[in-house]
Symmetry: C2
Subunit: 304 residues, 2 copies
């Protein structure tokens, strides 16, 4: 187990209350534990800087609103994050690469107050390896139509809730079938998202001299019941500035197989190339795919 630093949000401690993660901290009647009722965000700290903090806090507010869950304001979270990272530096080591998780549950049954904490820990080693070597994914049916989110708000599509049992089961299913990860598809055949990531595909054209004359980056349409990716959002902005064309689906599995490159992108694992989808190799020009990955990774690295 990696060392985890915990800071609870607590009105009596405006900067957050540091607690020992090697001791129990949650009540067995917390609705986070008994109902998966709550929201979370996972952020990456690189060289002391918390990446995309406003985007994560904004998304957590949106998730909490979809769950009608009252959570502390952004400033309280920011203070608790600072406290957690100071403590991490003091007891674990430098803030070279730290994963910060924000969690808000509906709280202890009957108490009507969210339980909120910040957990800081080292990233899993697998993330770096997957980023470098790429991954194989399976397409798995998520069971929902892509137009369901708006007409069925109780399904919480687009909220990042603690009820991740299906996402975890899909990953186990992939691992049991020789793959590393999953891309969910909708009941109506659209590409949605990974269990913990956003899907990106790219098309490019080269001129006779091998220079890229067109670079087009596409992600599934945001209103298809997927989680809006903070990494996708930031990377799209950077790619646009760098001259890429942008597109927002709808994507179908065909589009993955026709792409010059496919990635899963997330805050911690960053830009991870997809080598195979359902056993079929992605892209026909490995050199081109590597060039696209390198360019996007370069843009991604610069994101604040």
């Amino acid at each position: 187990m990696t060392h985890t630093v915990l800071t609870f949000l607590d009105r009596a401690f405006p900067d957050g209350r540091i607690e020992d993660a090697t001791k129990p901290q949650l009540f067995a009647t917390d609705l986070g534990a008994t109902r998966g009722d709550g929201v979370f965000e996972t952020l990456l700290v690189l060289d002391g800087h918390v990446r995309k903090l406003p985007a994560h806090l904004a998304r957590m507010s949106k998730s909490a609103a979809l769950l009608e869950l009252e959570v502390p304001d952004h400033e309280a979270w920011e203070r608790a994050i600072v406290t957690a990272l100071d403590e991490y530096q003091r007891v674990v080591g430098p803030l070279t690469e730290v994963v910060v998780k924000l969690v808000a549950t509906r709280g202890v049954e009957g108490a009507h107050e969210a339980t909120c904490w910040v957990a800081a820990s080292a990233p899993a080693p697998a993330a770096k390896r997957q980023r470098e070597e790429g991954i194989d994914v399976l397409l798995l049916d998520r069971g929902y139509d892509s137009d369901l989110a708006e007409r069925a708000p109780w399904l919480l599509l687009g909220a990042k809730t603690l009820s991740y049992a299906v996402n975890m089961a899909a990953l186990r299913y992939a691992h049991a079938h020789g793959a590393d990860d999953v891309i969910f598809t909708s009941a109506d055949g659209k590409v949605l998202e990974g269990p913990t990531s956003t899907v990106l595909i790219a098309h490019a054209e080269k001129d006779d001299a091998g220079r890229l004359t067109l670079k087009r980056l596409v992600t599934p349409q945001l209103d298809s019941g997927i989680l809006p990716g903070t990494s996708q959002g930031a990377l799209f902005a950077a790619a646009k500035d760098a001259g890429w064309e942008l597109g927002y689906g709808p994507l179908e599995p065909e589009d993955l197989f026709d792409a010059d490159a496919v990635w899963l992108i997330s805050s911690v694992r960053l830009l991870t190339p997809v080598n195979h989808v359902d056993g079929t190799a992605i892209g026909t020009d490995p050199e081109l795919a590597r060039a696209l990955t390198a360019e996007l990774a370069g843009l991604f690295d610069k994101i604040a």
Copy 2:
């Protein structure tokens, strides 16, 4: 908050380890709390007797298997339940009516051992009132086709997982729209289940003397991705012995409106009559509906 008695399953304590529920008992890195990754059962104890214990333990084993989660054997759970109830009797009061929750999470991140506990507490007062007065329900789309469960095991349909955020959101949606509860329908228009209950409907015919000549009890088909209800199973067995005809869907919303009576049934709230569905009164003969409810409630009371 009601008083809760906690007993953790622990290899070092074959009868279970009693813990103080007013103190934190779970780690903030428990995958139950951070991923809703685990399973649970809710049982009712009446006059010292744990109702339908084998059915609940069997369903928990099935849920755990769907999640590939290793949980202690039935004997360990039974011992922990006995310990919890003894303690409940000692510190809270007689075992007239006690709710017992069994929870198994995937455990602390990296530890690869389930966190398992038994929680005993008093039932919420609302259950009794709803049972006596009946409830109004909304039909809400669950988003899945009714034939999805078998071809998409990663969706964990039919497993009673801790990822109940959608079930809780559906109940909140119903309350905000003037209803007490929800009946989920499938994307292909079939009646599924309540967020925490099973749907039952009945048809009856009377002869000229007012005697019931036909009593037919129907529940949605069990392979439609719903949770197999332990109460439905036990009541069907009792009703069969009492001369009722039985049926297993498929049911559509029309069938609710055509029924002589509709109930939501669950281990704690027992047999709860549905008065209105989407604002439409159920049944045309209130006296008949009351007679059916009384007869089924009588059968249900006798279930071990």
